[in-house]
């Protein structure tokens, strides 16, 4: 179940770039600057009423011009429909507005995205690493981060084994 994409497109013609319906799921591709007004609309509009935040995540496409993609997954309990909103973020301006003013639950989810992918969230109340240690170097879910190998542990100095 998903809402009529045309309504959102007409309300935000500047922000919504494209829509896609696949596997019975609606995806909105948007301009990253418009995330907060769009989210306020999705949350407050009586036809949308996306009161429940399901998840925030991120994707990495190293070859693309705008490297990262942040996706938001919302659900409406009264209307029983879902929506996915996606915004592209480039590596140089690696930041997007936080949606914590709309959904308080976004706090930890955005922290995780920051930790794992290195995307910053503007006006986030407490943007720190959440899983990795605070002095950790790099962002593990980026595609250029090695899955195998010793990583930062290889820089440790050990006593020579003689």
């Amino acid at each position: 179940m998903y809402p009529e994409p045309k309504i959102i497109q007409e309300a935000f013609p500047q922000i919504v770039i494209n829509t896609k319906i696949e596997f019975g799921e609606l995806t909105l591709f948007i301009e990253k600057g418009g995330i907060l007004p769009l989210c306020r609309f999705l949350h407050d509009d009586p036809g949308m009423r996306f009161d429940h935040i399901t998840d925030i995540g991120s994707l990495d496409f190293p070859e693309d011009e705008e490297r990262f993609e942040v996706f938001y997954q919302f659900y409406s309990i009264p209307k029983n429909h879902r929506i996915r909103v996606k915004a592209r973020v480039s590596e140089e301006a690696c930041a997007i507005d936080s949606v914590t003013p709309v959904w308080k639950g976004a706090n930890f989810m955005e922290r995780e995205v920051y930790d794992m992918m290195g995307i910053r969230f503007n006006n986030h109340p407490d943007l720190r690493r959440i899983m990795m240690p605070e002095d950790f170097d790099g962002h593990p879910l980026r595609k250029d981060f090695p899955t195998e190998g010793r990583g930062w542990r290889s820089t440790f100095e050990f006593l020579p084994n003689t």
Partner: protein, 417 residues
């Protein structure tokens, strides 16, 4: 002290000297915030969780959870594994309820593949998921009561949980990390022995629930420790993205089994229990009622379960039956191909949420074709519940922290992934 001081001053006055001026009364109480580090090794945190508490006396001003001690990079690992190889990884998320984790993942892959599962498999899947729900809630009830100080409940609930785990052992050979679900079906079929055992268990289960209730339902200590502790209003709970019994305790009717029915839930007669006050007691009560509902569903499934294949007829994707693999050359080759090379999934992205005992466990898969997911994002209920921890813990006592951890039914393996 004042009495003594008065006497001295009088004596001095009698002696003819100057009466001393009464010294200034200095406040004895100092007010300052106190930082208390709790964990990461604490028996009641159900894993390794550290919380930094800002205290004023014994009241919590702020609670900052420090996660990540159990982070194993499941999402990153999954990018290197074929879809079948990820199923054992999902076992290790919420190691208390691994069946439902398998179910959630397998459902997302099947949604991506547009794969239909045979009728019998759907019934068995729902049956096993409900057994897991009973087991998970029993685990919660036992440990929560133990954390609060009631030992007996723990022994009682683990007695029944053991019974369910024994049935699982007979079903798939493992007790905790089961890996029983397969893309397109199941590992193996139900045996008549398990069905008999399950029927017996379900028959006696209402009596067992009564036993737990006599211990807890009107127990003064239990009431004092859980009533009005960790209260959250329905509106806030939704805003924080809470799911499962934690959300339904606040009276919000959201259960994926009803909202977006999967398996055979829409063919069974059952209800969603809802709370009123949104406190720990209501959540306890909901979990107890959910267990009776699960038992009700299992009873119906055992009556209705049809015969037929338990694996989908799709040789490119579905592994052959295990007993054939052991006996038949072609099946062995087939098994080898599917297990080592995997199967190619179509391009696209899916999100699929499943109701597990803790809440909504969702898997988001982004596929660019090929036998591995390009990105697998897990939506773990425990992690998102932890986001509301600070909000829910403020204003309570240190001793309530244990109850507030427990109220979410938190498992750190899932929280940190």
């Amino acid at each position: 002290m004042t009495m003594k001081g008065d006497n001295i001053s009088k004596q001095v006055a009698v002696g003819g000297g100057e009466a001393p001026t009464p010294h200034e009364v200095k406040p004895i109480l100092r007010r300052e915030e106190f930082l208390l580090n709790m964990g990461p090794q604490h028996p009641s945190t159900h894993g390794v969780l550290r919380v930094v508490l800002d205290l004023e006396g014994e009241r919590i001003v702020k609670a900052t959870p420090d996660l990540g001690y159990l982070h194993r990079g499941v999402e990153k690992l999954a990018e290197l594994e074929t879809y079948n190889q990820i199923i054992p990884l999902t076992d290790r998320l919420d190691y208390v309820c691994s069946m439902t984790n398998n179910y959630a993942f397998v459902r997302s892959v099947e949604k991506l593949l547009r794969l239909q599962v045979p009728e019998r498999a759907e019934y068995i899947r729902t049956l096993v998921a409900e057994m897991m729900r009973i087991s998970g809630h029993l685990f919660w009830l036992g440990t929560q009561a133990l954390d609060v100080g009631a030992m007996t409940v723990f022994f009682f609930t683990f007695r029944e949980r053991e019974e369910i785990l024994d049935m699982f052992e007979e079903l798939c050979g493992a007790r905790l990390t089961m890996t029983y679900y397969r893309v397109g079906g199941l590992d193996r079929d139900l045996t008549p022995k398990i069905i008999d055992r399950l029927k017996k268990f379900i028959k006696e289960f209402p009596k067992k629930i009564k036993e737990y209730n006599t211990l807890l339902e009107t127990n003064r200590i239990w009431l004092a420790r859980t009533k009005d502790v960790a209260v959250i209003s329905g509106e806030d709970a939704v805003n924080f993205g809470l799911t499962g019994p934690t959300l339904r305790g606040s009276g919000v009717n959201y259960d994926i089994r009803k909202a977006e029915p999967y398996g055979v839930y829409d063919r069974l007669d059952w209800e969603v229990p809802l709370g009123k006050n949104g406190d720990t007691y209501d959540r306890y009560w909901i979990r107890v009622l959910e267990m009776t509902q699960s038992a009700r569903m299992i009873e119906q499934i055992l009556e209705k379960i049809p015969s037929g294949p338990f694996l989908a007829d799709h040789p490119m994707v579905v592994l052959p039956q295990k007993d054939l693999v052991m006996a038949d050359m072609e099946s062995l080759i087939h098994h080898f191909l599917v297990a080592s090379k995997g199967f190619d999934a179509p391009k696209g992205e899916v999100y699929c949420g499943t109701e597990v005992p803790k809440g909504e466990l969702g898997f988001y898969i982004y596929s660019t074709g090929g036998n591995r997911p390009y990105r697998l994002k897990i939506r773990p209920p425990s992690f998102i519940h932890m986001g509301a921890f600070d909000y829910m813990a403020r204003g309570y006592m240190i001793s309530d922290i244990i109850t507030i951890f427990g109220t979410y039914d938190i498992v750190m393996g899932e929280c940190d992934r």
